[in-house]
Each structure stands twice: as structure tokens, then as C-alpha cells.
């Protein structure tokens, strides 16, 4: 392919990534995760994490408030579905624009500081947004009940073209309802596009500037760069990614609640990125998949299922195992997640992608002479 568009390695990575994503319903089925609802979430949180990594992984600014943009995207999408049309495309476009504007304002204020002060500022703004959504802005957000579609919504564009619906309104794409596997492929297409855009950003001169800001901000300034607009651009781009993810969640499940803006949701995307590998392209997506997998699969397990599983073991042993493991599944799945997170951060500070790299290096060294230079691939 033309070197102006993409390098060969990037193209191979993009094709491989697309293949893995599109075949997920097949290879995840034996793992008990091959159902559309969960697959859609894999895609949505994958997009969220890819975008977050542009700010955190490339530029080195740790935001603790990205759930705010996710939530703004959700609310915008639901309002578009209510007021304009049930078609998903206007909802997503509007969500990306509005969350981008929101990120511009918050980013402009937070980027006056860096390091821990930046993180605390983002956290404060996100909690403010959450509280506004939860109580003060109830007319817009419908408070704790959450914003949802109703039969009596005006939907002016649909009304103007004479579209009418029977029964519960469902978001559509050019007239086809988005649900089940159609919803999954809809989200998957966006994840692949989001991944492609992130690849382009990371491989552009602009992306190199972001990495340089992370590496040495002082040198950047003495080299003649105004670092603030660079960091602000990264902030807005990642805010738009979050808005896109939030909109997809609203389109596939048209109910927007304030809880998705809470600090725990902001923290979750940080965990996803670190777990998978900060600064890598694929890592954050894998991190998102693992966390969502654990959340859904482990939390669905309970003592009865465990008892059936350990039935073959002698009495006493099985009840002991059920008792111990039972603490780590069901409502206790966070314990497992925490354990996995601690193990990864201690033994693989570069996340799962560092593990992959180490394994690949070990294989390469066994095959040929050990390499002495310590070259590192920029982004995998």
C-alpha cells in the first residue's frame, strides 16, 4: 500500500486485528462469551480504551475523568434518538461532536496543570458532571431513573419523512433494527475504524510529538513547540472516542444512566489500559476485553455452579474449594480482578503486551543468535 497512508507492518496489524474482531462470535463461543450483548460491550469498551490510550499512553496525561465524556456521548445519543430520528448515525455524529466540545472545555481548564494535579482536576470535573447528571440536570438526564426512549417521543425527522413505528422504539441503521449480532457487527465496524484512526495518529508526525511530550516536556518547549495545544488535541480526540463509545452503548441499549459517569467508570478504563499495556495499540483493547469478560463471566458464577463443577472431588475437599473460590466469583469478582491486576503490574509493568513481547523475544533468541541492540518496536 502507499507509504503515505500506512506502513506495511501497520497494515498487517490492522488486517489481523479486524480478523480477530470479526470472528469473535466463533472463537469466543467455547469460552462462554459468544453472545451478542457481551460482544457489543467488548467492542464499545475497546473503543473507549483505544481513545483513552491516545491521551494516557501516547501523551502521558493520566485522566481520571473520562467517563464524563462517555456519559455525555450516551445522553446526546439518546436525545438524538428521542428528538430527531431513531437512525443511529445522526445520534453517533452528534454524540462525538458534543463530547468533543465538552472535552475541549474541560481539557482547556485541566491542562493548565500536569502530573497528579491534572489527574485530580479531571476527577473533580467528572464527579461534578456525575452529580449534575444525577440531580441538578434531571430535566435533561432524567436523574437516577435514566434517560430512555418512549412512544411519545417527537422524533421530528422520522415524523417529517412519514416514518411511523409500532410498539417499543428501537434504534435502527437505515431502517434495520440494531440488535443482536447486527448490533455486534455495527459496533465492530466502529472499533476497527477507531483502531485504524489510532494507528494513523500514532504513526504520524503529530503522534511522534505526543510521544515526545510524554518523554520530555522541557525539551519539547526548548525545541520550539507549544506543548499545550498538542496535549489539548490529544485530550479532545480521546474525549471524542469516549463519546463515540458512550453513543454506541446508548444505541445498542437505549437507556442512559448517570452511573456510567461515576469515578469507578473512569477508573475502569485506566485499569483496562494498564492491564493491556500502556502506549501500545492493541493492549488497551485486550485489557478492555479481559475486564469485561471477567465482569460478565465470573459475576455470573455462584456457589451452586461451583458445587456442580467440583462434584467429582471427594466430600470435604469440594465444599472447601467451593467456599474459597466462591469468594472470588459472583459479587466477589472484583477480588479476582484486583488480584490479576496486582500480579500483572508487579511482574509485567508493561501489561499483557509486554508479556507477549517477552515470549516473542524468547522464541526469536532460541532460533537465532541473541540480539544485542535493544531496539523496541514503537507501537504494536
Amino acid at each position: 500500500m502507499n507509504a503515505n497512508l500506512m506502513s506495511r507492518n501497520d497494515l498487517v496489524l490492522l488486517l489481523g486485528f479486524s480478523l480477530v474482531v470479526l470472528t469473535m462470535p466463533i472463537w469466543l463461543a467455547p469460552l462462554g462469551a459468544g453472545y451478542p450483548d457481551l460482544l457489543q460491550r467488548f467492542m464499545i469498551y475497546g473503543i473507549f480504551a483505544v481513545g483513552f490510550n491516545i491521551l494516557f499512553g501516547l501523551t502521558g496525561y493520566l485522566s481520571f475523568g473520562h467517563a464524563a465524556f462517555f456519559g455525555v456521548g450516551s445522553y446526546t445519543a439518546v436525545w438524538s434518538l428521542k428528538l430527531l430520528t431513531l437512525d443511529a448515525i445522526p445520534a453517533m455524529v452528534l454524540a462525538v461532536i458534543i463530547s468533543g466540545i465538552f472535552a475541549l472545555i474541560i481539557g482547556f481548564l485541566c491542562l493548565r496543570r500536569s502530573g497528579i494535579y491534572f489527574s485530580i482536576l479531571t476527577l473533580a470535573f467528572a464527579q461534578m458532571s456525575y452529580n449534575l447528571a444525577y440531580s441538578v440536570l434531571t430535566p435533561i438526564t432524567n436523574g437516577e431513573t435514566g434517560l430512555q426512549l418512549t412512544l411519545s417521543d417527537p422524533r421530528v425527522i422520522d415524523a417529517a419523512v412519514g416514518h411511523s413505528f409500532v410498539g417499543q422504539p428501537i434504534p435502527t441503521l437505515f431502517g434495520t433494527p440494531i440488535g443482536g449480532y447486527a448490533g455486534f457487527y455495527f459496533c465492530a465496524a466502529f472499533l476497527i475504524i477507531a483502531f485504524f484512526v489510532a494507528q494513523r495518529i500514532a504513526g504520524s508526525p503529530f503522534g511522534m510529538m505526543l510521544k515526545a511530550i510524554k518523554s520530555n516536556q522541557t525539551r519539547m518547549q526548548f525545541t520550539g513547540f507549544n506543548t499545550r495545544p498538542y496535549a489539548l488535541s490529544a485530550f479532545v480526540i480521546s474525549g471524542m472516542y469516549a463519546g463515540l463509545a458512550g453513543a454506541l452503548l446508548a444505541v445498542t441499549d437505549p437507556l442512559a444512566g448517570a452511573e456510567r459517569m461515576q469515578w469507578t467508570a473512569s477508573g475502569e478504563v485506566v485499569l483496562m489500559t494498564i492491564l493491556g499495556g500502556v502506549g501500545t495499540l492493541v493492549g488497551p483493547v485486550i485489557g478492555a476485553w479481559i475486564i469485561k469478560y471477567f465482569e460478565n463471566i465470573l459475576s455470573a458464577l455462584n456457589d451452586n455452579i461451583l458445587a456442580r463443577f467440583f462434584d467429582v472431588l471427594p466430600d470435604g475437599v469440594d465444599s472447601f474449594l467451593v467456599k474459597v473460590i466462591g469468594k472470588f466469583v459472583g459479587d466477589g469478582w472484583h477480588l479476582t480482578l484486583g488480584l490479576v491486576f496486582v500480579i500483572i503490574v508487579i511482574f509485567l509493568p508493561g501489561g499483557i503486551m509486554e508479556g507477549v513481547r517477552r515470549i516473542a523475544a524468547a522464541f526469536r533468541n532460541r532460533g537465532s543468535t541473541p540480539r544485542t541492540s535493544n531496539q523496541t518496536q514503537a507501537a504494536e
Partner: protein, 254 residues
């Protein structure tokens, strides 16, 4: 002797840190194309003076004028864009990026200015900038290390790379803060050779240095700083013969 064109003028600069008078009455005129060394014992205010020139510190009073433009009050990136580059005492480099990218970044700063949302091109397609960076690395003798991570270079190589990062911008004024500090004799000599080589390019340089060997092999003019004041000013020979300087500085060190 000041028949040349004055490119940098430090006019009546004072800098106080609380009760400490770090710089007093500093007047300095640097001629175009010359190498001007600032020497002085530890704590004389050399680094403070450099930080005032480059915009890292604001002077308490006085002005720094570069080619008719007042630098005082401008941000470091604006000062760089006017054509002033700086080598730091401890090399300031992009440790997590390759040597080649380290040198490409300043070249892009010169071409694209202080901000450009350059997302539609790939790095691979920046062939002109890449070729220029490779050429520069050849000049400083580091082309073999272009794919190494900058953070894993030796101290001498980091310094040489930082110098390449400054030179690729073709600055009109290059500020060097103890360019051979902490280097072995061998690395020091290579650095002197390199600085002599770039001297022929007609770039103006202000150099702060401890090592007399370095100063006397490079400088056209020397200003001696002691306790925040300039106590002598002149050619290397004039400064060497000045009794005030001998007393304050050279007596023990030379």
C-alpha cells in the same frame, strides 16, 4: 574591537532570589558569528544568566535583546522559534524515542512551527526531514546508532545527539551550558573537535564552561563572572593576563 554586528544584548540585568543578589548589573554584547564564553567559579551566576537569556527565569530588572527583539517575557518555545537553541548541562533528550526521531523532532519544529495538527501524513513519508536528520547524525558521527533508544546512549553520545538536535534547527544563536561537564578526557576532546567544526558555519555561540582547556580552545571572547558581576571582559589573552581574574578565579584552577 566591537566592530561586528551585536546579535545578543543583555542590558543591565539584575536577578534577585529573596535576599540573594544572583546577578547584578550584567551588560553583555555578543557579536554575530563569534563564540562568547562565560566563565566563573561555582555559584558565580553563570547558569542563572543562561536561564535568564533563554526565558526560563525572568530577570528582576533589565532586558535581553536578540537581534532587535526583546526576549524578556517570552516563553521558551517562542524564544526557540526566533532562532535560539540550547544544550543543557544534563542532556535534555527524548529518552524513550530513537536517536533518529530525537533529531527529526527539532527539524519538524523548524519546518512546521510551534503547533501543527499533522495527522494525515505518516512518519515514513517525511523523507526530506529523515534524510536531513540522517545527514546531521553523520556529521556528529552517530549514524550507526540512529535506531537505538536515546535513553540507552552513553553520556557523551547523549550530548552529541543533543547538539545535533540543536544544530539541525540552524539556530542563529546556540547556547551551551557546560557542554563537557562530567565527560572523560577523550569525550571532551571529541566534543571540542565537533564544536570547532561547527564554528566554521558562522553560528553565534554563548558557552558556559568550567574547563579552561575547553574555553581557551574555543572562545573568541570571554566574560568572567564572579559573585553575580562581570569582573572582566575581553579576548582570551586579555582575560588570561588580567590580575583581577587571576585572583578571583584562574589562580587556583589553571
Amino acid at each position: 574591537m566591537s566592530n561586528g554586528n551585536i546579535v545578543l544584548h543583555v542590558a543591565d540585568v539584575h536577578k534577585r532570589f529573596g535576599g540573594l543578589h544572583a546577578l547584578a548589573d550584567i551588560d553583555l554584547a555578543v557579536e554575530e558569528g563569534k563564540t562568547h564564553a562565560i566563565i566563573g567559579p561555582n555559584g558565580a551566576g553563570k547558569s542563572t544568566l543562561l536561564n535568564v537569556i533563554i526565558g526560563k527565569l525572568a530577570p528582576t530588572s533589565g532586558q535581553v535583546i536578540f537581534d532587535g527583539t526583546i526576549l524578556t517575557g517570552r516563553k521558551p518555545f517562542q524564544i526557540n522559534q526566533l532562532g535560539i537553541a540550547r544544550v543543557f548541562q544534563t542532556p535534555e533528550i527524548f529518552a524513550d524515542l530513537s536517536v533518529l526521531h530525537n533529531v527529526m523532532i527539532p527539524a519538524l519544529a523548524r519546518r512546521d512551527g510551534m503547533f501543527k495538527l499533522n495527522m494525515l501524513r505518516t512518519l515514513e513519508s517525511e523523507t526530506a526531514i529523515r534524510a536531513e536528520a540522517e545527514h546531521m547524525l553523520e556529521d556528529v558521527g552517530m549514524i550507526a546508532r540512529k535506531d537505538m533508544m536515546a535513553g540507552s546512549l552513553s553520556r557523551g553520545d547523549k550530548r552529541r545527539m543533543e547538539l545535533a538536535m540543536c544544530l539541525i534547527q540552524h539556530p542563529r544563536l546556540l547556547l551551551l551550558d557546560e557542554p563537557t561537564a562530567g565527560m572523560s578526557r577523550h569525550d571532551t576532546n571529541t566534543t571540542i573537535e565537533l564544536l570547532k567544526k561547527i564554528k566554521s558555519r558562522g553560528m553565534t555561540k554563548v558557552i558556559i564552561e568550567h574547563d579552561m582547556h575547553v574555553v581557551f580552545s574555543l572562545a573568541d571572547k570571554i566574560s568572567v563572572l564572579a559573585q553575580g558581576r562581570i569582573i572582566a571582559d575581553g579576548t582570551p589573552d586579555q582575560v588570561r593576563g588580567n590580575p583581577k581574574v587571576q585572583e578571583a578565579y584562574l589562580g587556583g584552577a589553571h
